[in-house]
């Protein structure tokens, strides 16, 4: 609590004056009586008189005066002092899943670092946590207002990041090997696979790579180097699975890739199934661009099913669900400039969502920050990607921008794999820049945290009105008791 005009507390000096006046006005008036003989048996008269000398009238008068004096001093109650906003961006890239020699992952160490930072904040400080990956972490840290911006990652940025503190939680001793490239070629009935292996370690290693049902090879890979080979793959139309033998590697996700024929089998729902024809046509046109050669198949055979939320997709297959605004209905438009929710990786890669005019069907119940996608794992297996906005609503509609094909391509790549020159799509191949381990360690600079100036003003509430109300009530009660004022 603070006082805006402390000198006004001089008014409290009126309290003893009020008490003195009250005592004078209510003192026992001397009355000469013929005799005290009939009062002699009133043994407690004096004590009773002294005890009740300070009565309710005095307390009411004092409370009113004190309240007015305190109100004049301008008291304010600070429920929250000046606080700082600490914006923390946690790297959620694939490398954060790397497991160190002690068994902990970089993501777990990042969580511990965030917890330590949170514990060092004052009660009035606020920690705003954001997730980002790759090169976006620094940009995400610089967005919005904050007193301190912190990036928690497994590596330090290549360039200086003025204004952004970096906490590195990498494991310097971590080592990993992974498949960084894969492609398949078909010559007659012979299929061959080209694979590249990267040794993300400080020493050279001999790594064995094998094709399921096909050839295998041992590769001498220099420290931080890459080696490649071509292996025989089994004949047929089935997928080709390549495995890298790296039992002590930090990342397991990059030890296997699957190469599937690039012909994407897609089932697009019709108007009878709830997907408007215009939206079905839009999906087909977009697939012609991002997945050339795709074929329309029955839902039971599809690798990707496109429809509305109720559309049934086969077990293990992927689904793309749209939420079109019903014909004649009015959607909910995201205000221009309002914050948009960043789509999860890898679906949001390369997307510029800030300029999109987003219109949602009312049953989506969208609100700020306005979302684009929702990814969920279906009970039957497989991934369902919901496009929450209507791509054909808005001015211009998202379908007329570059964001729409990029979004569809990201979805197709995530569920069916990235296309390769040999006519196959490859699944499980992490981008080399994201799969590379970060090995840096750095704690938060205490001086940066201590020197961060508050960016949020204190939350103050004036107590003047309640005090004046208290004074009014006290004096009103005193006035009301005036009719019963004692004679003495």
């Amino acid at each position: 609590m603070a006082l805006l005009w402390p000198f006004a507390l001089v008014g409290l000096l009126a309290l003893p004056v009020v008490a003195w006046l009250h005592r004078r006005l209510t003192r026992a008036v001397p009355v000469v009586v013929p005799s005290l003989r009939f009062l002699a048996d009133e043994v407690d008269a004096d004590r009773d008189a002294r005890r009740r000398r300070v009565d309710l009238d005095l307390w009411l008068a004092l409370a009113g005066c004190a309240a007015v004096a305190c109100a004049a001093a301008g008291p304010v109650w600070r429920s929250h002092g000046a606080g700082r906003t600490v914006r923390v961006v946690v790297d959620d890239g694939p490398a954060m899943a790397a497991r160190g020699l002690d068994g902990s992952t970089a993501a777990a160490r990042a969580e511990a670092a965030v917890a330590r930072l949170r514990a060092r904040l004052a009660p009035e400080d606020v920690l705003a946590r954001v997730a980002a990956a790759g090169d976006d972490v620094v940009a995400a840290a610089r967005r919005g207002g904050a007193a301190l911006r912190v990036v928690v990652s497994d590596r330090l940025p290549a360039l200086a990041t003025p204004g952004v503190e970096v906490v590195a939680v990498g494991d310097p001793a971590a080592r990993n090997a992974g498949l960084v490239a894969a492609a398949a070629t078909v010559a007659g009935t012979t299929r061959r696979v080209f694979v590249a292996v990267r040794n993300d370690a400080a020493d050279a290693r001999v790594l064995r790579v094998a094709v399921a049902g096909g050839g295998a090879a041992a590769l001498d890979v220099a420290a931080n180097g890459v080696a490649s080979t071509t292996l025989d793959a089994p004949a047929g139309d089935g997928p080709i699975v390549v495995r890298l033998d790296d039992p002590d590697g930090a990342l397991a996700a990059d030890d296997e890739v699957r190469l599937v024929p690039s012909v994407l089998r897609v089932a697009v729902a019709g108007p009878d199934e709830g997907l408007p024809a215009a939206h079905g046509d839009l999906v087909r046109r977009t697939l012609d661009v991002v997945a050339p050669g795709w074929v329309a198949v029955a839902p039971a055979e599809a690798a990707l099913s496109v429809g509305v939320a109720a559309t049934v997709a086969p077990a293990g297959g992927a689904a793309l669900w749209l939420h079109p605004v019903a014909p004649g209905a009015t959607g909910v438009r995201a205000p221009a400039g309002a914050a948009r929710e960043r789509p999860p990786a890898p679906f949001g890669d390369d997307l510029d969502v800030a300029s999109l005019d987003l219109v949602y069907a009312r049953d989506v119940l969208a609100s700020a920050p306005w979302p684009l996608l929702r990814v969920r794992t279906r009970p039957a297996g497989g991934t369902a990607v919901e496009v929450l906005f209507d791509p054909l609503a808005g001015a211009p509609p998202p379908a007329d921008t570059a964001a729409w094909p990029i979004l569809v391509e990201n979805v197709v790549t995530a569920v069916a794999g990235a296309p390769t020159p040999g006519g196959f799509r490859v699944l499980g191949l992490a981008p080399p820049d994201r799969a590379r381990l970060g090995r840096d360690r750095r704690d938060l600079d205490d001086a940066a945290l201590a020197g961060a100036a508050p960016d949020r003003p204190p939350v103050e509430r004036s107590l003047r009105a309640p005090l004046l109300a208290l004074a009014a009530v006290s004096w009103a009660a005193l006035w009301g008791r005036g009719g019963r004022r004692r004679v003495a």
Binding site: T26, R27, A28, V29, P30, V31, V32, V33, P34, S35, L36, R37, F38, L39, D41, E42, A45, D46, D48, A49, R50, R52, R53, R486, V487, A488
Partner: protein, 294 residues
Amino acid sequence: MSPREPGADATLFPPGFLRLLATVPALVRRVRAGAAAGVHAARGTGGPFLFRGHRAYREGDDLRRVDWGVLARHDRVVVREHDAERDVRTEVWLDGSASLAPGGGRAAAARATALACAVGLCGGGRVRLGVLRDGAAAPRREADDPADLAALLDAIAAETPAHRAGLADALPALAARLPARARLFLVTDLLTDADPALLARAAGRGLSGAVLHLRDPDTWAPPPEGLFEAVDAESGARRVVRWTPDRAERVARRAAAHAERWTHAARAAGLAVVPFAPSTPPEDLLARLALEVP
């Protein structure tokens, strides 16, 4: 009787009261005319209406008593006197303590004393005025002529309530002074620790009269409610009291019980008790003196 003397205290005896005093002889005579021989006839062989003699006419005498034969024969205005109207010795004693002063008590007591003197002077009676103070009974003035009432009023007005009455000593001293069969008017507030039985000791001496009991309401009825500091008029002792209805009721009960004890003792001595207060109209007090006091 002409009490309007230049020296009369107008504060204690306002003109209205003086006019009332002038009517006392007529009122007393009218009351006693219906009482046959009355109760004050002297013992003797002549009977209650035995002609005793003449005396000079005084202002206020009933014209029916004028002896017209003497007037015609000797050119003198005289009135006839009978034994039934022989003078009665009236003792008027005023409590001179300071407790009579508060709350208009002094004026009320002074007027009651004056009324008692006026009643005593009616019919040729003798009046002795005295004061009880500090345990002594001090006579102040005697009179047997209604014309002396003004002097009695001056003597009353000269008494300023002070000190204690000391009735425990003063009453025995007074009893020693009282002649047998005298009529006693004792004007007092009875605020004393003395034993009421002191009055009863005078029983059997043929006393008549009354105790004029000044019951000052201030004794038990101070301001309606609240704090006040009671100051004893006699001792100066102080006491802070928070006055409440319950407390006032208890005090009033004690005062009533105290008065009852004295009333009982006074009646045992042959005295009536006439309570009065500063608010009691003098006319009412006079009527009670004339009607109720033997």
